[in-house]
């Protein structure tokens, strides 16, 4: 079953990390991605540019409204995601717990796990 792991954290804290430490941190992420691949769980994954690079689009009454920034200002922001394919939720939880994005510290990470709707198999979500 496929799940998306949404990585939330304080992007300002990440921006504040000095470049040398960031390289070390990136290695942790590469190792984690490799661990997912070795498990046969990895489907996709990307880091996102911070919300300062976001653009929000809303269409209301046929009019397109474009604003600079994320859809809402939040204490923690979506920084990236993984899509994994695991047998059950416990494995997805294990994958999320292993991710560097789940840890606390300055970045105060949280991983939200959402099952992905399989329209072909289920028809529609209930």
């Amino acid at each position: 079953m496929q799940y998306i792991l949404l990585i939330y954290g304080d992007e300002n804290a990440w921006e504040a990390v000095p470049p040398e430490e960031r390289a070390k941190s990136m290695q942790e992420w590469f190792d984690y991605t490799q661990w997912l691949r070795d498990k046969g769980w990895y489907v996709a994954g990307d880091a996102l540019h911070p919300t300062t690079r976001a653009t929000t689009v809303r269409v209301r009454d046929g009019e397109t409204l474009t604003t600079d920034g994320p859809f809402a200002e939040t204490k923690e922001q979506l920084g990236g995601y993984y899509v994994v394919d695991t047998e059950n939720l416990d494995d997805a939880i294990e994958a999320a717990a292993r991710c560097p994005g789940a840890r606390g510290g300055d970045m105060g990470g949280s991983m939200e796990i959402r099952p992905i709707v399989d329209f072909e198999a289920e028809g529609q979500p209930s």
Binding site: E87, N88, L89, D90, I93, P115, A121, S126
Partner: protein, 389 residues
């Protein structure tokens, strides 16, 4: 195709998809030598993929189906003694941390406790439609997120235990002081004890599992003394202690000692220690109330709750008199106004302080809220007694 697959719809869909794929790939790669065979082979592969997906879906819905099956069986007492393994799998599934706590408890009571939705709703002071929604949402979450139907693997087991213990104790409490029907629903208490015993055996390194079992066994030991032959409630202080199950008391005390030896105190061990103090007293007047009050004080530090504070007030009143207990009770008025035992306790203290009119009013308030017939009969007798005197 239909001959091979035995399903007309599936065959038709598969061929359709094969044509679509042909339209996409043939312009790029050229038409194959045998287009007909290509279509057939592609269609068959599509159909096989579809069947595989359907099987995965069936496996995902297996948990939901099991839940539904067990729900239907749950009402029949004979089926309560079904395979222990199955019940254990079910309880860990119902108590999965991805489910909200109130959902876990509700689901366990419904599927393992065999209660109706209405009974579960009353147990939690919640309206029945809200409880029905809670159950539906929980089952959907289990299905849609593929919560596995199993006892967790060893590395996950200790962490999953907390949720299970809390759930089992709530099941026991429903049987111990049932909201409808006879005061004691023995089959619920027996079920809670049976499951708790299995869990304690599975996790011998967890003192709280044994502590919970000790607590249940000790409380349940009083079952034959708690009601008169007419089904009326008998207070702890009035119970015929010869009718207590002394073998069960011995077992409970031994379990508690074993749990305490683990040197990791916790709320269930504390509550079991309180129950043990009652069990050890040969007569009501021999009860070590100061020690019980102290234990409730410790419990209030670990698991603060107005109900714990209420029980502590009762112990203080027994140790030091109702005048000392009354202010402790009245401090809980806002939080416990909807709880019949709050009003019953307050009424009892007022009665002992010879404030009859106020006591009668508090009993009346308790009667508005109490649903169990045995408890209501008792409260009515008390109310009549204070109103008359």
């Amino acid at each position: 195709m239909i001959r091979v697959l035995g399903d007309f719809d599936l065959a038709e869909d598969a061929v359709q998809e094969a044509f679509v794929q042909a339209l996409q790939t043939w312009p790029k790669r050229g038409i194959p030598d045998n287009p007909g065979a290509w279509i057939t082979t592609t269609a068959r592969n599509r159909a096989i993929d579809r069947l595989r997906r359907d099987r995965t879906l069936r496996e995902k819905t297996e948990t939901l189906t099991r839940l539904a099956e067990l729900e239907r069986l749950g009402d029949d007492e004979a089926d309560m003694s079904a395979i222990p393994d199955d019940r254990l799998r079910l309880i860990f599934t119902c108590c999965h941390p991805a489910l909200a706590m109130d959902a876990r408890v509700a689901l366990t009571l419904k599927t393992l406790g065999g209660l109706t939705t209405a009974e579960v709703a009353r147990a939690f002071l919640v309206a029945e439609p809200a409880m029905a929604q809670r159950l539906v949402r929980a089952k959907r979450k289990i299905r849609d997120t593929a919560i596995p139907y199993r006892v967790p693997p060893p590395e996950l087991l200790p962490a999953r235990l907390d949720g299970v213990l809390a759930t089992l104790y709530l099941v026991f409490n429903e049987g111990y002081g049932s909201t409808s029907g006879p005061l004691v629903r023995t089959e619920l208490c027996d079920e809670a004890i049976r499951l708790s015993r299995t869990v304690a055996e599975l996790l011998p390194e967890e003192p709280e599992a044994r502590g919970l079992l000790a607590l249940m066994v000790l409380q349940h030991s009083r079952r034959d003394a708690r009601t008169t032959p007419d089904g009326e409630l008998v207070l702890l202080e009035d119970q015929d202690r010869a009718r207590w199950d002394h073998d069960a008391i011995d077992e409970g005390l031994a379990l508690l000692d074993a749990a305490i030896a683990g040197r990791r105190p916790g709320p269930y061990q504390l509550q079991a220690a309180i129950a043990a103090l009652h069990a050890r007293a040969p007569r009501a007047e021999d009860t070590d109330w100061p020690q019980i009050a102290a234990l409730y004080g410790r419990l209030a530090l670990i698991t603060p709750s107005p109900v714990v504070a209420l029980n502590r007030a009762v112990a203080v009143a027994m140790a030091d008199g109702p005048a000392r207990g009354l202010p402790l009770v009245e401090a809980l008025a806002d939080e416990l106004d909807g709880y019949h035992l709050f009003h019953a306790t307050r009424a009892d203290f007022l009665r002992r302080l010879d404030r009859g009119e106020e006591a009668a009013e508090a009993y009346r308030r308790a009667l508005e809220l109490a649903t169990n017939p045995s408890e209501r009969a008792f409260l009515e007798r008390r109310r009549a007694g204070t109103a008359a005197g």
